[in-house]
């Protein structure tokens, strides 16, 4: 039997603006990617020194997860292995692959090489929140809401997971977009409305920023 699941929170970071559940919560459209990501980190008053060591793709995904879960998620409700991450993008870790390649001309950088895999980003999010459930990273030409919806619902319906963070985190040079969804089987009264049911239509609305 298919159980209804809910988008109990969402976060979009696009073109210098951070949106939480459809509302713009931070804006800095002048800065380049690197400075923009740092300004988000500082604005939300997060203390996590390892943030500075991440590559830009990880920073973007990690910040989106941070804002997604802030005030909306009680990790204590779940066992670590019951929370998973299903993410996708089009260009994998290409942004860092290029940077790493530049260093290889002299002394190849171990810390950059580490980030030449897109699933290091999912790892960074898991380390931060102690999520130990199923993880996957897909490479798609463009955002595929149907795939994400079906895949994640499957995991929840079969009790592989009780909660899942899913979505799209893409970054290449100065182009970026992160759209993350926290999907749970139940949600608080204020979120239990049709527009928060985890459907393809609702996913796309959030992805295209139609709720804002």
């Amino acid at each position: 039997m298919q159980i209804k699941s809910y988008i109990s929170s969402n976060c979009v970071i696009d073109d210098g603006i951070v949106y939480k559940n459809g509302k713009a919560v931070f804006e800095n459209r002048e800065a380049g990617v690197q400075d923009f990501l740092q300004s988000v980190y500082q604005h939300f008053g997060i203390k996590y020194p390892k943030f500075y060591k991440m590559d830009n793709l990880s920073k973007l995904g990690w910040l989106a997860a941070e804002i997604l879960l802030k005030d909306n998620f009680d990790a204590g409700e779940y066992k670590p292995e019951d929370v998973g991450l299903i993410l996708a993008n089009a260009n994998s870790s290409l942004d860092t692959d290029i940077r790493y390649y530049e260093t290889a001309k002299e002394i190849a950088s171990p810390s950059l090489f580490v980030y030449t895999l897109p699933n290091i980003m999912t790892g960074e999010i898991c380390i931060r929140h102690n999520f130990k459930g199923e993880n996957a990273f897909f490479i798609f030409e463009k955002f595929d809401a149907g795939f994400i919806q079906e895949y994640v619902n499957n995991l929840l319906n079969n009790n592989n997971l009780q909660a899942c963070i899913c979505g799209w985190v893409e970054l290449l040079e100065d182009q970026y977009k992160a759209v993350l969804f926290l999907v749970e089987k139940t949600t608080g009264a204020e979120m239990a409305m049709p527009s928060n049911i985890f459907t393809i239509e609702n996913i796309l609305k959030i992805y295209q920023l139609e709720n804002g």
């Binding site: 692959d97 002394i107 980030y115 960074e124 130990k132 490479i139």
Partner: protein, 399 residues
């Protein structure tokens, strides 16, 4: 609604053979594929041993029926995927819902490297055809087009667990009646990019690797491709040949410890193995063989060993790391080792863990050091653990 998932075809190319039969012959002879670098052009030639597929790109292109200008990753992928498809011998592929789920981590990096050196010296130089297939998904699509697979094509990139996850996704899609036949696995070619990268992490052994040895010094990089053909019960019944085995369990978990290091107690590995057992409804004592992730790094082997101890103590199945033959083939290892696990069941053999001299003092068990023949393997567990804490285990079961 769920059907049993059958493995009906296998294909492999690695440093120890151009096909499954070639790989099995090398296992029987105890002949590792590791040696001095011949095909990769690198500053580390004669300094760092690697496990290369013993062909030039031109030779591989001839085997694959593709252009030598295409990435070596795609050539390897094509050769093994075609072998798997031919082996399955499904005559009416066109009438079925077919999928190709292929993993890799380097994509067309080998060609990009060629482009880059010319392009750097002169931004007007460099052949663009070398970079058009750079990305991981492009490699999959080139091969899917060649195989004529249309219904579902996808690429998974989760480091060294990539192709185990591809097989896992294939099984799920068959169980949920979304596809009838899936060719799943992965490929990776050795590139300067990966060699330099692993070298900066200081986890490459300058000698032949010694997984699960007290004096292990690191891994040897390898290359290759491995695919299995998975079908539903309904399709399996229509085939002239008996299936090799079933895929009865699978699980993925995150270690949530460090970007590249496994946690000391191997919690992610433990959760993956335990979850796969639960999925298949088996007990640890039902497993007769573990194909270890067994890279030969200090960190992997103690983490994996500790997790095995926690799950299996005191009754240990036979186990070995086939990376002692093939090197660590990264995005391909889950696919290759799935093929080897299925063949262990089918041919009743257990592969040796080469070069093991001093067992690890922390562990109460020792992997197999000699080839085992005529051994009934009821269930084989295959481990693939990747950077990012991504841990996957698959269980193959005798019919």
């Amino acid at each position: 609604m769920s059907t049993t998932v059958f493995i009906v075809g296998v294909g492999a190319i690695s440093a120890i053979g151009d096909n499954v039969a070639g790989c099995l012959a090398s296992f029987k002879k105890g002949k590792a594929g590791i040696g001095d670098m011949v095909y990769l052009d690198s500053a580390y030639k004669n300094k760092i041993p690697v496990a290369e597929v013993k062909h030039t790109n031109e030779q591989l292109a001839a085997l694959a029926g593709m252009s030598p200008k295409i990435s070596r990753t795609a050539l390897l992928s094509s050769i093994a995927a075609k072998e798997a498809m031919d082996d399955a011998g499904i005559s009416n592929m066109d009438a079925l819902r077919t999928g190709f789920i292929s993993a890799n981590t380097v994509g067309g990096m080998d060609k990009t490297e060629n482009f880059f050196s010319e392009f750097l010296s002169n931004p007007g130089k460099g052949k663009l055809r070398n970079v058009v297939n750079h990305e991981c998904g492009s490699v999959t699509e080139l091969v899917a087009d060649q195989l004529g697979i249309k219904n579902y094509v996808s690429t998974i990139s989760t480091a060294c667990s990539s192709s185990a996850n591809a097989i896992f996704l294939a099984a799920r899609m068959i169980r949920h009646n979304m596809l009838d036949v899936v060719i799943a696995g992965g490929a990776d070619a050795i590139t300067k990019f990966t060699l330099n990268g692993f070298n900066t992490l200081m986890i490459l052994d300058s000698d032949y690797c010694k997984p699960f040895d007290e004096n292990r010094k690191g891994l040897n990089l390898g290359e290759g491709a491995g695919y299995v053909v998975l079908v539903s019960e309904k399709i399996a019944k229509t085939l002239p040949k008996k299936a090799y085995c079933t895929l009865s369990g699978y699980c993925n978990a995150n270690d949530a410890y460090h970007q590249t290091a496994s946690s000391p107690d191997g919690i992610g590995s433990y959760l993956a193995m335990d979850g796969a057992l639960k999925k298949s409804g088996l007990l640890p004592s039902d497993i007769d063989y573990i194909n270890l992730h067994g890279t030969g790094t200090q960190n992997n082997d103690i983490a994996e060993g500790t997790a095995i101890k926690r799950l299996f103590d005191p009754h240990y199945p036979k186990m070995s790391s086939t990376k002692t033959f093939t090197g660590h083939t990264l995005g391909a290892c889950g696919g290759l080792e799935a093929v080897f696990s299925a063949m262990a069941i089918h041919h009743k053999i257990i592969y040796p863990n080469l070069r093991l001299q001093t067992p690890m003092k922390e562990l109460p068990f020792v992997p197999e050091t000699v080839l085992g023949e005529n051994i009934t393997v009821r269930h084989a567990l295959s481990n693939s653990f990747g950077f990012g804490g991504n841990c996957s285990s698959l269980i193959f079961s005798k019919l």
